[in-house]
């Protein structure tokens, strides 16, 4: 038993690094004097660095199913973890200057690590209990991050809305988990696969629906999407960037695992996910159309992006492209979103559409980066977003859901409209006054994220090599 426990602990080393690092950082934050609090960001980077190294090390030989069948430390999880690590590192880089004068900044980095840990756990969960722990860890830290500027009305409003919706969604999820446990007699996903055959189909549908609401909340999918625009607009910009992305990574992977074990003969989950995808992408796009607040627009566009990402889940089990397309989507969206928010942070949170007028010549680099991230969201080649959409559409066409690909196309064309409402005036209107800049670190973060968006599109082969034969374990 002990040796098995020891082996399990070694298998999930990246998780332990996250957890241990966060705990050490709490102690530092508690005891370090105020002038040394700035270094807590460095501490977070060190933790993330070790977690990233450990994850990369394991990629060569993934441990696979571990922790007594409750955790899937497979390659897909490792890649998901890597994406989360990169996103968190970029978030820390954006936060340093933003929170420089905040006396509580140390706590912020601790919360950030724990929230990332929640997403990492979610990506590997193959047990309902594990799943609940991950969901709650990720949610509770998320609420705090969203409202971290407690004196800002916008931030507290975003936080409270996020919390109320989250409480509802997580409650529904807990109820759904209880139902699934009752119906299948076990908590691991493997038990669901066998235990649900012969169960009352109506009850299984209700249970799956309730769990889906919880996952939809993390993803920002209909019907629990409403927090995304609020958080994007009101929360501290670096935290918003993180919250829009990290949860998506964990939730999309776990949804795919869950979908794989549900017997299609009992629950027609595929059409259900397809409808959620269709409604999510369309609603997100239509709501983004007339937004005059850039961050709110990014929040709605994030909702529509979730809709595209769900195509990968629709294709699972029917197309070999399902897993690679999901990872490609997550990587491309995460980097694009970080780049766009990095531009906003660099402009000190500038968000009114009007104030972007004529910035094309005043801030050529920042606006160029914004254009790249927008065009990647639209799916213009050779950017990362294009390759992602190509794979996603290929996957659903192969799975017999060509109508979803057609809807994706229509939505992509619509999305150009609201991005152009910002790009157009930025370049075509007379030159505007330069805006105050955040600082060098934020500026370089823009550069790194933007180059990465271009690079994963142009040099896609190494990623495809790594992802095309990935197996997703589901117990």
């Amino acid at each position: 038993m002990t040796s098995e426990m020891g082996q399990a602990a070694i298998d999930v080393l990246p998780v332990l690094i996250f957890a241990g690092g966060a705990i050490l950082l709490i102690f530092y934050v508690m005891f370090a004097p105020q002038r040394l609090q700035v270094w807590s960001a460095m501490g977070a980077i060190v933790v993330l660095g070790f977690a990233g190294l450990a994850t990369g090390w394991y990629l060569g030989d993934a441990p696979g199913m571990t922790f007594f069948g409750t955790f899937a430390a497979d390659r897909t999880w490792l890649w998901g973890t890597l994406i989360i690590v990169v996103v968190t590192v970029l978030t820390v880089a954006l936060s340093v200057e933003w929170f420089r004068t905040d006396a509580r900044q140390g706590e912020y980095y601790v919360l950030l690590l724990l929230s990332a840990l929640g997403a990492v756990l979610l990506a590997g969960a193959v047990d309902l209990m594990e799943f609940i722990v991950a969901m709650l860890l990720s949610s509770v830290t998320g609420f705090t991050l969203a409202a971290f500027h407690r004196k800002s009305r916008a931030a507290t409003e975003a936080g409270i809305k996020y919390y109320l919706l989250g409480a509802l969604a997580n409650g529904a999820m807990a109820y759904g988990v209880a139902l699934l446990f009752g119906l299948s007699g076990g908590t691991s996903f493997g038990d669901l696969r066998t235990g649900l055959v012969g169960a009352d189909p109506m009850a299984v549908v209700v249970a799956f629906g309730l769990v889906t609401i919880g996952i939809a909340f993390k993803l920002g999918a209909v019907p629990a999407h409403q927090w995304m625009p609020d958080v994007a607009q009101g929360s501290p910009a670096p935290a918003a960037a993180f919250l829009l992305v990290a949860g998506k990574v964990g939730a999309l992977i776990v949804l795919m695992r869950l979908a794989m074990v549900l017997p299609e003969t009992v629950v027609g989950w595929r059409p259900l996910v397809a409808v959620i995808a269709a409604v999510t992408m369309t609603l997100g796009n239509l709501a983004a159309l007339w937004q005059d607040d850039v961050r709110r627009m990014l929040g709605w566009s994030s909702v529509s992006q979730t809709g595209y990402g769900l195509l990968a889940v629709v294709a699972v089990g029917r197309s070999d492209l399902a897993v690679p397309s999901m990872l490609f989507f997550l990587a491309a969206y995460a980097l694009g979103n970080m780049a766009a928010f990095a531009v906003v942070v660099s402009l000190r949170g500038l968000t009114a559409r009007e104030s972007f007028r004529g910035l094309g010549s005043a801030h050529p680099w920042l606006m160029g980066a914004l254009v790249v991230s927008f065009l990647s969201f639209v799916g213009i080649p050779p950017l990362g977003g294009f390759t992602a959409k190509l794979l996603l559409m290929g996957a659903v066409i192969e799975s017999g859901y060509a109508w979803l690909a057609i809807l994706t196309v229509i939505n992509s064309a619509i999305s150009l409209f609201y991005y152009a409402r910002i790009m157009g005036p930025a370049y075509f209107d007379p030159a505007g006054e330069p805006r105050p800049n955040m600082g060098r670190l934020a500026f370089w973060t823009v550069g790194v994220a933007t180059v990465a968006v271009i690079a994963i599109g142009v040099v896609a082969q190494p990623l495809m090599d790594a992802w095309q034969a990935l197996v997703l374990l589901a117990g």
Partner: protein, 496 residues
């Protein structure tokens, strides 16, 4: 070698952006010099091209994303060689043509060189994904070109252009994906797909693919009723951008119809050749009639583009129609269509540049503001009249050669469509004659007493176009032989 034609302009575009502000006046000479590189490469390629060999030549290939069957492959055949030559030439003259760069010469010439690389890439690509990458980037380049350096309601026109053509190009992407999913082993390589024809003839899938591709190409060409983005884009674009839009970007649509719709799905194309021909005739008549009603010079030329692209599509439809025994007619129609693409690029390119010269002097496109300019500006009048006569199909000029072959070929396949389509030529003749009469003949309004004739820089841009219009009109064999090497392959169903 062909790769250099794409990447040299791309590289110099980046360098141009990096020129320090102090030296920004060097952007123009640098761009002009660079634009001769693709031109020289095309001439060399033309010299090396062997018209006796079916299929693609001068192919260069390297792996890109092998896991997905995506490669970087470029090469030419009779079709792409003609269009690449046209593209290189039109970009050189458009860059030479003097223009108000709104105080941003670096950005302007960098965008132009970028668009040149992209446009050459579209015609040279022999991989569907590579093709699509260039195709979509051409929209981005043109969007900024119209938006930043346009006039009038440029922002709105640029957006309309981008939205319409993006929707079309995404439909095209679905079609490309559809073809890809039929290939086995999976590949986007166009040479392989044309050789193996993986898409079956019957069933719903191929029809959907054909419609996706067709929508993408029809928006870009544009065929009526997908043309509504074109007039505003042309009217508000700066003159050289209009030239590129009409001369190069529209050709991408017709090129796609031949290269992808026809060559990759010949059997499905046969089933829809007649409806496509009917749409073409509607475009011919509608474009001509609406052009007739215009009082704005640039809108008039824009609608004649709709009309002329109708001829091209009619030729393609006839070439792809079913018909054992009509190979000769269909081959003739195909050659005509491709020659018409080249001719239209030269003629309309010249007309748009001329309209830019007129705007720079008179500050309006309204035809009734002008008159009697022939006496004041004989060189302007001469070149405009030459281009207008060529456009209406006067024998001895390039337009006639093309349109004669299209109609002669179509007559053997769709006789009554050819008959109706001929009416278009009558109408264009009327409208061009009226345009010439309004602008150049009659009394000279007093305020144009100081009208300047074409400057030397304008002549450098216009004379080569005019000369080629005459050369192709009088001695077209050198062009037709190259194009014929394609037409034979396509219409006889020879697998290259």
């Amino acid at each position: 070698m062909l790769t250099l034609a794409i990447f040299v302009p791309l590289l110099v575009a980046a360098i141009t952006l990096a020129i320090p502000k102090k030296y920004e006046h060097y952007a123009r000479p640098l761009a002009i010099g660079t634009s001769f590189v693709p031109l020289a490469i095309v001439i060399a390629a033309w010299a090396q091209f062997d018209i006796g060999t079916a299929g693609f030549q001068l192919v260069e290939t390297t792996a890109w994303i092998p896991s997905l069957g995506v490669s970087y492959t470029v090469g030419v055949d009779g079709l792409s060689l003609a269009l690449v030559a046209l593209t290189a030439l039109l970009f050189t003259v458009s860059i030479i043509f003097p223009i108000d760069d709104h105080g941003k010469p670096r950005a302007y010439f960098a965008t132009f060189l970028f668009l040149e690389a992209i446009s050459l890439g579209v015609f040279l690509s022999l991989d569907l994904i590579l093709f699509f990458v260039f195709w979509d980037l051409s929209l981005v380049g043109m969007y900024f070109l119209i938006g930043i350096w346009g006039h009038g309601d440029a922002q709105r026109s640029a957006l309309k252009f981008f939205l319409y053509t993006l929707l079309g190009s995404l439909a095209l992407l679905l079609g490309i994906l559809g073809i890809y999913l039929y290939t086995d082993p999976r590949t986007f390589n166009m040479i392989d797909i044309i050789a193996n024809l993986p898409v079956p003839a019957g069933g719903l899938g191929p029809v959907l693919i054909f419609f996706g591709l067709g929508l993408g190409f029809a928006v870009k060409t544009p065929l009526v009723p997908f043309h509504t983005w074109l007039p505003p884009a042309h009217v508000d674009a700066p003159a050289p951008a209009s030239t590129i839009l009409a001369g190069v970007l529209l050709k991408m649509g017709t090129y796609g119809f031949i290269r992808i719709s026809l060559q990759m799905m010949p059997e499905t194309f046969q089933r829809f050749a007649l409806p496509l021909g009917i749409l073409a005739v509607i475009s011919i008549l509608y474009g001509a009639l609406v052009a007739m009603a215009q009082t704005n010079l640039k809108r008039l030329i824009a609608y004649t583009s709709v009309n002329h692209m109708g001829y091209v599509i009619l030729g393609i439809a006839a070439a792809g129609a079913l018909g054992v025994g009509s190979e000769a007619s269909r081959s003739l129609a195909m050659t005509g269509a491709v020659v018409e693409m080249v001719a239209h690029g030269l003629i309309t390119g010249a007309l748009f540049l001329v309209s830019g010269s007129i705007l720079a002097r008179g500050e309006t496109y309204e035809l009734d503001q002008y008159g009697g300019l022939a006496g004041r500006a004989p060189r302007l009048a001469g070149i405009t009249m030459l281009a207008a006569f060529a456009s209406l199909g006067l024998p001895g000029l390039a337009g006639f050669v093309a349109e004669f072959q299209i109609f002669a070929g179509t007559l053997g396949v769709f006789p009554w469509l050819a008959g109706i389509g001929l009416l278009g030529i009558v109408i264009t003749a009327a409208l061009f004659l009226r345009m010439i009469q309004q602008v150049f003949l009659g009394d000279l309004p007093v305020r144009w007493d100081g009208w300047r004739d074409l400057s030397r820089a304008e002549l450098y841009a216009l004379v080569p176009l005019a000369a080629l219009v005459v050369i192709i009109g009088v001695a077209p064999a050198w062009l037709i032989r190259v194009v014929d090497s394609l037409s034979q392959v396509v219409t006889a169903g020879i697998v290259p």
